[in-house]
């Protein structure tokens, strides 16, 4: 089978606006999450509209996957569906990270001690 002259990903990489790519990707991710949550509840667009006190056509527009959703409309959907659509990381000042254990701690401590002593001896000799 022959190949098209245009590879979609190549076109997007070369000429596309990364903001548009991200917009479409995140918008569709939110829409999909809403759709799955609605399915789980057995809701149709009208049910979601009713729960948010919006018109069905407005909700359809939100769920088209190409609408510029506001934070307010996202939160309205979160409240109506009882789900979290946008996760934000908590603010951290520091975090403990487990890097592993050091085997033979006694040997290690002895080596540190030996090094410090030899360094001190050397400094003492220089001082003399």
């Amino acid at each position: 089978m022959k190949k098209s002259n245009h590879n979609i990903s190549d076109w997007l990489d070369q000429y596309g606006d990364p903001e548009i790519d991200k917009f479409v990707e995140k918008n569709l991710a939110i829409t999909e999450k809403v759709r799955v949550a609605m399915e789980a509840k057995g809701w149709k667009s009208q049910d979601l509209a009713k729960a948010m006190d919006k018109t069905p056509s407005e909700v359809s527009k939100w769920l088209s996957g190409m609408h510029n959703l506001t934070l307010k409309s996202i939160i309205k959907m979160e409240q109506a569906l009882g789900i979290c659509l946008v996760h934000t990381e908590p603010i951290k000042q520091y975090e403990y990270v487990y890097l592993g254990t050091i085997k033979g701690v006694d040997d290690y401590a002895q080596k540190v001690n030996d090094y410090q002593e030899s360094y001190a001896d050397q400094a003492y000799e220089i001082a003399l």
Partner: protein, 180 residues
């Protein structure tokens, strides 16, 4: 049979493989669409291609993400449409300095063969209420419906065959869709 079309592979993503066709030895329809609108309607084209990629990579060609454009056959189009609403895309307004929802009236006609295989045809800016009334898209709309009909028949006749669990298709090397 005066007319013929050859099936052309466009892209394979994790969830969808896209194909197009070249009519009467001309350029592939999807190539012609990209070439024309990359110049005239770059942002609108960007939105549609980004949409095709995300659907292909992450979601699959689900029915709700296409708009119905059936006349004589089961043709669809992108971008999708909400109930009684024109699809929108976001465009930066340089005068006001804001991002605005604007109708994306660029249409790309296609055939959603199943959730894994989509044929992309050609399209244009739609300027009338129906494609039949719009001089820009009428010919693309009619051609897409004709090609959809021919491809459906070719599936039934096993001239186009499903492979890899209905995720791709194969045809004989010399296979052509033909019509008067």
């Amino acid at each position: 049979m005066n007319n013929f079309a050859e099936i052309i592979w466009v892209n394979t993503y994790r969830k969808v493989t896209y194909y197009t066709v070249a009519v009467n030895d001309g350029d592939a329809l999807f190539d012609a669409f990209v070439d024309k609108h990359a110049v005239e309607n770059k942002e609108k084209l960007n939105h549609i291609l980004a949409w095709i990629k995300v659907i292909g990579d992450k979601i699959g060609a689900q029915e709700q993400y296409f708009r119905n454009e059936a006349e004589t056959a089961d043709t669809s189009a992108l971008p999708p449409q909400g109930v009684n609403k024109e699809p929108v895309y976001v465009e930066y307004n340089e005068e006001t300095g804001t991002e605005e929802n604007k109708p994306n009236n660029l249409r790309l006609y296609c055939l959603r063969a199943n959730e894994y295989v989509v044929f992309l045809f050609n399209g244009d800016i739609k300027t009338a209420a129906t494609p039949q009334e719009c001089e820009n898209v009428r010919s693309h709309f009619k051609m897409a419906n004709k090609l959809t009909e021919l491809i459906d028949e070719a599936f039934q006749n096993k001239e186009i065959r499903w492979i890899n669990d209905y995720t791709e298709i194969e045809v004989d090397d010399d296979f052509l869709l033909q019509w008067d």
